[in-house]
């Protein structure tokens, strides 16, 4: 329950903060959440989201709390990169964002595995064991998955931002 509430509070705080910096924030958040949800739905067979409250699940073990969490990570990473390096090219910012996301994912996955919220089917565990684990816990193979997952979801978000002309690269008070 604490985990679910913490994610909800963090999401609200992030949205309030980002909305004060860029008026398109909640729309971009929604688009990104759709991308995350699409990916979660498609890859649901590859992992378990377990031990969450019943109300935290959308369908089977797909949890909207996890969707919020990954969306928070993506938007916060975009904000950090856009704020720190606004003049970098799109390609640099794209890969920097994935780098920042990965930095967030490492401790988050560590916590999820430790708290037994994240689990994997045996076939995936066998696959993960084919490569070493970082810090003895987070499978290196999962980092490759994170790169693939986030590349596709981040591009999904950028594509729809462009389609609806939702600028999300300038923030009040950021570096000019």
């Amino acid at each position: 329950m604490i985990f679910e509430l913490a994610i909800i509070v963090l999401t609200i705080a992030l949205l309030v903060f980002l909305s004060s910096k860029n008026k398109n924030s909640w729309k971009v958040y929604l688009i990104t959440a759709v991308g995350v949800l699409l990916f979660e739905y498609y890859t649901q067979a590859l992992w378990f989201n377990q031990n969450l409250e019943k109300w935290a699940y959308l369908y089977l073990d797909i949890s909207w709390i996890m969707t919020l969490m990954w969306t928070d990570v993506i938007l916060l990473s975009i904000f950090i990169v856009e704020s720190l390096r606004p003049k970098y090219s799109e390609v640099k910012k794209f890969f920097m964002s994935i780098g920042v996301i990965t930095l967030f994912v490492l401790p988050i996955e560590w916590i999820l595995i430790r708290t037994n919220i994240r689990g994997y089917p045996q076939v995936i565990l066998d696959l993960y064991e084919s490569l070493p684990r970082l810090f003895g816990i987070v499978p290196l193979k999962e980092l490759i998955y994170v790169f693939a997952f986030m590349s596709l979801v981040l591009a999904f978000s950028r594509y729809w931002q462009a389609n609806y002309n939702l600028k999300f690269d300038k923030f009040n008070g950021g570096k000019k």
């Binding site: 498609y42 067979a45 594509y159």
Partner: protein, 169 residues
């Protein structure tokens, strides 16, 4: 149809589509091809444990379960989709064409998936087949879930390709 014939057919169709794109005046065709390969490959990295690609010749595999011939097949499906939708709906806005891309890609994929199932190339891992309802698309051996999965795959691969190509090609 034997497996070698299938593999050769996929490669020939891919070359044919790329040649048509070049002939019809599209720029950076090989870069576009490379970009779409990356997009499909990213998805295959993620979804590799969910299916098994059997019975292809050994040279048709990149690593483990991932086949470059089937990757070419996916690339062909997406490029053919773009050719059809962009050709027929030239003036439609991109955000509207997106939904047609998903529809056309699904229509092309269902018989292609049916063919590779019949040839014994495609089978599904237990981790995935356990989630199937058991219903099939009429007149095929293709699980009904493919009708949901293909638009989802396409909804992530197409934006990746479109976004990156709009910025760098």
């Amino acid at each position: 149809m034997n497996i070698l014939l299938f593999e050769a057919l996929v490669v020939i169709v891919t070359i044919g589509i790329l040649a048509y794109m070049k002939y019809s005046g599209q720029k950076n065709v090989m870069k576009r091809f490379g970009l779409m390969l990356v997009a499909v490959f990213l998805f295959q990295i993620m979804s590799e444990p969910m299916w098994v690609n059997n019975n292809l010749d050994s040279w048709a595999y990149l690593y483990g379960n991932v086949s470059w011939v089937l990757t070419f097949g996916w690339v062909s499906i997406f490029f053919l989709t773009f050719l059809i939708v962009d050709g027929v709906f030239k003036k439609m806005q991109e955000k509207n064409k997106f939904w047609l891309y998903l529809l056309v890609a699904t229509i092309i994929t269902v018989p292609a998936e049916s063919l590779i199932l019949k040839l014994g190339i495609r089978s599904y891992a237990d981790v995935l087949s356990q989630t199937f309802s058991g219903l099939m698309i009429p007149l095929t051996q293709v699980p009904i879930e493919v009708l949901f999965a293909v638009p989802m795959i396409s909804a992530l691969i197409i934006p990746f390709y479109k976004y990156i190509s709009s910025k760098y090609l």
